[in-house]
Every structure is written in C-alpha cells, then in structure tokens.
C-alpha cells in the first residue's frame, strides 16, 4: 500500500484523465459518480500492464504467466478484505457485480438456508438490485418479503423495522448502507444489533457507502456486505460479496461450472472450498487487477480525507441548492452524504438534465433504479447530483448557477 498522501484536489483531479475532457466546448462537470465513477490512471495502467506483460487464465495453469496472473488477481481479494477489515480473505467472494452478489445470497442463502415460511426484510429505499432477487425468492421458495418503512425525512424507521422482526420469522434483513437516491446513511450497527437480537442475519448494500466511508465488517458484525467495483473508481464487471465464513460454508453454490469444483464425474461433483465454491467460470481477471489498484488508490488518500472533503462538498451543495427558488432537495436525513436528489418546480427532471448537459454538467435523472421509493415519495423522477473524491466546490457552484438559470428558462 502507498503512503497516505495529503488531500490535494488538483493533484487528485490530474489522476483522472477524463476530467480534462470538454463537452461541446465546455469543461466536463461530472456529477454522476454515484451511477459510475471515473477511473484514475493507476487503474488503467494496472489493467494495461497485465494485458501487455502478465496475462493468462488463473487458478489452473502450471506455467509462469498463469501463476503470476493468479497472484495479481488474488491480490484483489486481499485488498478487498483489508478495505472492509474482513477477518479472513476466504470471506471475500468476487462476483461480476453487486447485483450478482444479491442474487447469490438470495439463491444460496435464501433457498439453501432459509426455510419456506421465513421472511426477508428490505426497506422502502432499496435499489432494485436489493429488491427484485428477494421477490424472485419469495415467488420460488415461499419466503415472505417484508418492507420496512422510512420516515418522511428519508431515514429508516427503526421502530417500524423492529415491528417486522418481533414474530421471529425473519431470517434476513437486507438494507442499504447508504441510499443511492436520498444520500441517507442508515444506522448499520443498530440494524445489525436489532436483527441479531431477533435471530435474523443482516446483509448491507454497500455500493454507495463503501466509496465514501471506512467500512469495518467486523466492527459492524454484519453477515453479508455487497458492493460494486465501478463506483469505487474501479472497472465495471466486478463486485465484492463479504460473507461470514460459517455462512459461506453452510450455503450451497450459486452457479455451477469450472473453478467452483474440486472434482467432477458424471455421477457427482464436489465443491471447491470457500470462496471458490461461489466463483464459477473464469473470473473477471483484468477487472480484479484494476479493482485492486482502485482500492489501493483510495486507501492511499484515506477515508478521513475523503470523508472530510465530501462532507464539505455536501454541506456546500445543500446550502447552494436550497437557496434556489422552487428547488426541493429530496430527503433530509441527519446523517447523509454526497448523493443529492432534487426537483425544480415547473421543470421536469429530464428537461433539467438536458439543460445541464448543454453546459457540460452531467447529472442523472429518473427513478434511479428505485421505483418503489419514488412512489413512497410521491415523485415520478428526480434529478440527482452525486459527488466523488475529485468533485470540487466550483463544480457545485456551476451546478447551482445553471439551475438558477434553468428555472428562468421554464418560468
């Protein structure tokens, strides 16, 4: 790991070549990192280096290239374990996305460990990735799906959650660690304590949170924690599932194929040890190598510095945006981060996004893969600005100034 470096925003921006791009002659203002973040040069170089100098399939070759590539790829597992403070690298399952991680748990834990008649609890502010797999489990396996309410402020209603747990039927609580729409951090430690008190395991959707805060799965005592590489400045096509080892041991495999077996005959197959039991087929080798570089990049900057920068950005953005007439920030959680959804009176989110885009400002508009949350909020769509470690205060000023003019355009 590199030494911790001082937080120098200009130096950080120089690490991300794409930030120098012009959009129709205007500087790119990229405020859509919550959908997918840009990549630092070290990630590109790591992947390019592998392709140019050190690449073969992993876990099977007896030759130099395969052995070296296996080491480079498996280093991603160590980096992910260190990032999350997992006790054991075997608790890190490398998937192709966080969506795959949810499907893996819904299949292997949902069908293999939970019994029909038990229940899974999600919340009203989940991404579709933490909703649809549970609906499929419900329909295929007789597992009840319960939905914990959120408050009007956009926080998880802890009393409402507890009310869903009291009958003791809940086997798993699966809730976001940070809302991709409202920016709300949920009280992960309290959720875990509460669920465990009623005998339920806990899965956290960490795709947003892992980018912004230090996550310690041992301190949280969480059972499953899933996140995706491409929001953490890494490549697409790779995700991480942390799961406690005894759970992985108890769970049957998800997908079958090569790499996940120890021996195969036409009569039967024996599964590989965890975590490989859950990693069928050739993995995302180059993406793993890129993800390790991304993790090391973020660790070198450090979450204290990243957190301080992003808290300052969020405070600045909330102050600038809420001063715009007709603009409503959606959600007002006490503990929130740099994911800000808003509506502008008289202008639909898509029109807002198109006008912002004309000034080089990239935001997302729509339901953000959280349609039930939108209905809960009584909205069809919002515009959403999300920040990364390379976001600047000047970019937030550009957003606010342009939104003020957009208001005039549609008035």
């Amino acid at each position: 790991m590199n030494a911790i470096r001082p937080f120098d925003i200009e130096a950080i921006r120089a690490d991300f070549p794409i930030l120098g791009e012009k959009i129709r002659g205007k500087d790119l203002v990229f405020l859509d990192s919550g959908a997918s973040a840009q990549k630092p040069r070290v990630v590109m170089e790591a992947m390019l280096h592998a392709m140019q100098h050190q690449y073969a399939n992993v876990h099977r070759g007896l030759h130099w290239m395969s052995e070296r590539t296996t080491e480079a790829y498996e280093a991603a597992r160590d980096a992910a374990a260190r990032l999350m403070n997992a006790a054991d690298r075997r608790e890190i399952v490398i998937t192709h996305s966080s969506t795959e991680a949810f499907n893996l748990v819904a299949h292997s834990f949902g069908r293999g460990v939970l019994k029909p008649g038990q229940a899974v609890v999600i919340s009203q502010m989940e991404h579709h990735a933490n909703l649809v797999p549970w609906q499929m489990l419900r329909d295929a396996h007789g597992i009840e799906l319960r939905v914990a309410p959120i408050t009007d402020a956009g926080e998880l209603d802890m009393a409402g959650l507890e009310a869903l747990l009291t009958d003791g039927k809940v086997g798993l609580v699966s809730i976001t660690h940070m809302s991709n729409v409202l920016g709300t951090y949920t009280q992960a430690e309290r959720i875990v304590q509460l669920a465990h008190a009623y005998g339920a395991k806990v899965m956290l959707d960490g795709s947003q949170a892992i980018v912004h805060r230090r996550v310690d799965v041992q301190a949280l005592d969480v059972d499953f924690y899933a996140w995706t590489g491409h929001k953490l400045y890494g490549p697409t096509g790779i995700g991480i599932l942390y799961a406690k080892r005894e759970l992985l041991e108890a769970m049957p495999p998800f997908m079958g194929g090569g790499d996940m077996i120890s021996s195969v005959s036409f009569e039967r197959s024996r599964w590989a040890e965890v975590p490989h039991k859950f990693e069928a087929g050739t993995p995302a080798i180059l993406e793993g190598i890129g993800l390790r570089a991304a993790i090391e990049y973020v660790e070198a900057i450090g979450f204290d510095a990243i957190g301080a920068h992003e808290a300052s950005l969020t405070e600045h953005a909330l102050s600038r945006l809420s001063a715009i007439e007709g603009l409503t920030v959606i959600g007002r959680a006490q503990d929130r981060g740099g994911v800000i959804s808003f509506t502008l009176a008289g202008a639909h989110a898509h029109d807002v996004a198109t006008l912002l885009d004309r000034q080089g400002i990239a935001v997302r508009a729509g339901h953000h893969c959280a349609e039930p949350l939108m209905r809960r909020l009584g909205l069809d769509s919002t515009a959403r600005a999300t920040f990364g470690l390379y976001t600047t205060h000047a970019e937030i000023d550009a957003l606010a100034d342009t939104l003020d003019r957009i208001r005039g355009f549609f008035a």
Binding site: R24, G346, A347, H348, A349, H350, D351, T354, L355, R358, Q359, A365, G366, H367, E371, M374, D380, S381, T402, R405, I406, F409, F410
Partner: protein, 152 residues
C-alpha cells in the same frame, strides 16, 4: 445561455409543455390506452372519441417532461379528423421524423417543432411516447385490456 437548446426547446414546445390545450381526459371516449416510459418517469393516458369512423376528439392526462407533454398536445390536434389508419400512419411518419430530424411530409408540418429531438438520442422516446399510447388505443380490441405501451 441556453440559446443553442432552442432546436429542442422551441417556443411552441415550452408553451405546450407548460400549458397544454388538450391535457384533460375526455368525459366520453371510445378508445384509450396508457403509455409509460418507466426509465424516465414519463406517463401519458390518451383518450379518443370517434364519429363516423374518424377521430373527433382527443384528450390526454400526462405527467412528464416538456417534450412529452408538448408532443401529446400537438398529437391531439394533428389526428383530429383522421381515420384510425391515417392516424397510425402519421404516427409511423412522426417516429421516423423524430429519429431523422426532419421531414418534407406536409401532413407533419405542425409536428415539425418536435423534430429537434433527433439531436438528443435519449429524448426521442419522450416525443414518441404519446404516439405509442395512441397506437395502443387504436389497435386494441374493444373491451380488451392490454399492456401499457412504451417507447423506450
């Protein structure tokens, strides 16, 4: 600062998007269907009333962006007096215009302000959604419930 957006947001689009003339459901209608672009949240419900085999009246209820509302409003005026077959053909021609950015078809003259969407690939579906809903309304058998139309 948005002058270069006038190709998309012409005055008629802004005006119709803000205050559509036909943005209400009809009290009496004989055909209707919903259109929904779930990815962006645009929704429209189109109502038509026929007399003597021609569309006599058209109204809609919609929630969506300026482009989708304006498109529904201009659609309502464009199809009055047409047979269903003529309206469906106009919808086809409109869809082609929205993709290509223009048309010399004189029957589309009133719809030309929407041709600017061609330069904004992610917005073409906003303009074509009301037409998808109209097609669903005119082609479904009476009394039959059908799926919600989409232009995504």
């Amino acid at each position: 600062m948005f002058e270069d957006l006038r190709d998309l947001y012409q005055d008629v689009i802004l005006d119709r998007g803000r205050t559509p003339r036909h943005g209400q459901r009809l009290a009496v209608f004989d055909a209707d269907a919903k259109g929904d672009n779930p990815m962006c949240g645009d929704r429209v419900h189109v109502f038509a009333r026929h007399t003597d085999g021609r569309i006599a009246e058209l109204g809609f209820a919609a929630r969506g962006c300026a482009v989708s509302i304006a498109s529904a409003d201009l659609l309502a005026e464009a199809v009055i007096g047409l047979t269903d077959a003529e309206a469906l053909a106009m919808g086809e021609a409109f869809g082609a215009m929205a993709k290509q950015g223009g048309s010399d078809d004189p029957s589309l003259a009133a719809l030309q302000p929407l041709s600017g969407v061609a330069a904004y690939p992610s917005r073409i579906k906003c303009a074509t959604l009301p037409w998808a809903a109209l097609r669903a309304a005119l082609t479904k058998a009476p009394g039959m419930e059908e799926g919600v139309a989409s232009s995504e």
